[in-house]
């Protein structure tokens, strides 16, 4: 396995504040890797350290095996795409794309040729001599990508470049970014607080919280097997039941909670009496009681959101579960009853669909 970008015990401090705390990670060559986390979790700091705009306070960053300490952003084999794109408004589209080549002393005709090739790649062959302000949001996006590709970097760094686009365009650009990454075979490191972006595009996702990486893995592992309460609640919706582990057998744990005794899968061995949290995804809940009343909760309905293909039912938290409402997502299969707010609803889940994790910090709602 070739290691393209290696973070080796990287720490970044600003005065008393530790933005990134002892992060170690190998990103493979040709991989689409996303750092996912809320604002202030340190993901942008990591990106700026990889690109060379900041030097880590401790630890090392290696790209292609070479230590990057003391090497400025203009000397690194990386290209950064900024959140606001930072296209040069005083230059034409082609001049923007060829800027990196101009700085490398490539002559005018060769620059023009390369710019035209890249404009073909991003499907904007007619726009070479347009001004930047004549382009639409999506077109600017593609020009920014072409400008970064022009310098033939080893690693592309993307700082939430889709956040300024509207929803439809954003979804379209996800597909396009992924396609460009496959076609060029470059390593893409993507920063986002949008889990949808991270999960759909990435080969692997690193979920960050408070300067640390909580979990690294492919999208499905992050979603289906979250390693920490933070990951469980930051990525997708999750219902939380706080309780105490009373028994464990065959990978299934028994937890005593305010909502009664619950059974759920126990991925790691924990001592009896340990404070734990039980997580169940809203779409893994079903209407009606479980067999012999297993994992069954009855609560008043607080409100119902009709989404078309799904119906989201919110139940009163009942004071427990960290004060969070309980969510149940039911597929609109034609058999969803009409819920009256205030009326009681009974829901349940299979032990295999729920997950017990040691108690810890949850993501903010």
């Amino acid at each position: 396995m070739s290691r393209d970008v290696q973070l080796d015990h990287v720490t970044m401090r600003f005065g008393d504040f530790t933005a990134v705390s002892d992060v170690s990670l190998d990103i493979r060559a040709g991989e689409f890797f996303s750092f996912l986390g809320p604002s202030g979790c340190g993901k942008t700091t990591i990106l700026r350290m990889i690109s060379g705009f900041m030097e880590p306070s401790a630890g090392a960053i290696r790209i292609g095996g070479a230590d990057m300490a003391g090497i400025g952003p203009n000397k690194r084999p990386t290209a950064l795409i900024f959140q606001n794109l930072a296209l040069f408004p005083m230059m034409t589209v082609a001049e923007n794309i060829a800027f990196g080549l101009e700085m490398r002393g490539v002559d005018r005709s060769a620059r023009r040729k390369k710019a035209m090739e890249l404009l073909d790649l991003i499907a904007l062959p007619e726009s070479a001599d347009k001004r930047i302000d004549q382009l639409s949001g999506g077109q600017k996006q593609r020009v920014a990508i072409a400008r970064a590709l022009a310098v033939e970097p080893q690693v592309m760094l993307l700082d939430e470049p889709l956040s300024a686009l509207d929803l439809k365009l954003r979804q379209h650009m996800r597909t396009e970014l992924r396609a460009i990454q496959r076609r060029t075979g470059l390593t893409f490191i993507y920063i986002t607080h949008d889990q949808g972006e991270a999960l759909t595009m990435s080969d692997r996702v690193g979920v960050m919280s408070r300067g640390r990486i909580d979990q690294v893995g492919p999208s499905h592992a992050i979603y289906d097997a979250p390693a920490t309460p933070f990951v469980a609640t930051f990525v997708g919706e999750n219902n939380v039941f706080a309780g105490t582990l009373t028994d464990a057998a065959g990978g299934i744990g028994h937890v005593e909670t305010a909502a009664g005794p619950l059974r759920a899968s126990l991925p790691e061995a924990l001592p009896k009496g340990a404070p734990v949290l039980v997580f169940v995804r809203p779409e893994r809940m079903r209407l009606g009681p479980g067999p012999d009343g297993l994992n069954t909760v009855t609560r008043p309905v607080s409100h119902v959101d009709f989404e078309g293909n799904f119906v989201n039912v919110a139940l009163d938290s009942g004071g427990g579960a960290h004060g969070r409402a309980m969510l149940v997502q039911l597929p609109n299969d034609g058999r969803v009853p009409a819920f009256e707010p205030g009326s009681a609803a009974t829901v349940s889940f299979d032990p295999g669909q729920a997950r017990i994790l040691p108690a810890g910090e949850l993501a903010k709602e």
Binding site: S51, G52, F53, G72, P73, N74, K75, T78, A79, L80, F82, Q83, N84, A86, L87, F88, M90, M91, F99, G100, E102, M103, R104, R147, A148, V151
Partner: protein, 302 residues
Amino acid sequence: MSALVRRYGWPITLFMTGTTAVWLVVMVILPALVMVEYSFHPNLPVTKRGGPEDYYTLTNYAALFRGIDLTTWTFPNDFTVFIRTIWGASLVTFLSLVVCYPIAWHVAKIAPPRRAAVMILLLVIPFWINEILRTFAWYIILAYQGPLNAALLGLGILDKPVRWLSGSGGVLIGMTYAFLLFMMFPLINAIETLDTNQVEAAKDLGAPTWQIHRRIVIPHAKPGIAVGCIMVFVLAASSYIVPALLGSPGTRWFTETIYVWFFEGQDWPRGSAYAFILLTLCITFIMLVMRLFKVGLADIAK
């Protein structure tokens, strides 16, 4: 106008527009017109004004150029002074730009907010002092036995003192300093509005520092550079105090020539014509700069 009436009512609107109009007409337009009218008359004693010898003429304007002989390459004194003023003011403008750009860049983009505020304060405070006093300070600094020569000799940079005040050096230094802020603030304002990400993007794409300035910062700051150049050139070309104090007989400025025609030569028509020529020069320079930098009035107003 109707918007003003709606907001303030007729009495206040009439007062505001009326006083502005009176000020503009009586204090600015009429004196200028009187001067222009003067400049087209021959210089006559009061008794002969309006008499048969009083007619409209261009002699006062032609006087500046009379005596130019390109075959022998001789130029009349006033014309030489006029050309030297253009050259001197251009040089002062260029020097101001060279001195101010790095400082403006530092204040606008490099310095943390607190240091930037302190730097601006340090730039502004000396300008609370009267212009004549500041110019006198330079007279002392640049004197033959003054602190500048002493310092340069002490550091071993010079081996004999320089007569700063006998050539154009004193005038150029004095003027560059006198009008520094008029270059500094437009530059700082213009550079401040540049998105720092653009600088970083250029750097990330491999641009060395000088290329970042050539390709990104200077093109962005062009309106500010244009405003600064216009201000400094116009102020330098029409400056009187600095050349009068720091200049020598060999470095007379065109404003001094105008002064001499008005008050020593008692030839007001000639003085008026020269003043009007200076005004035309300044307007020409403004239009030239706007053309050169491809900026419009709207850009400059920003």
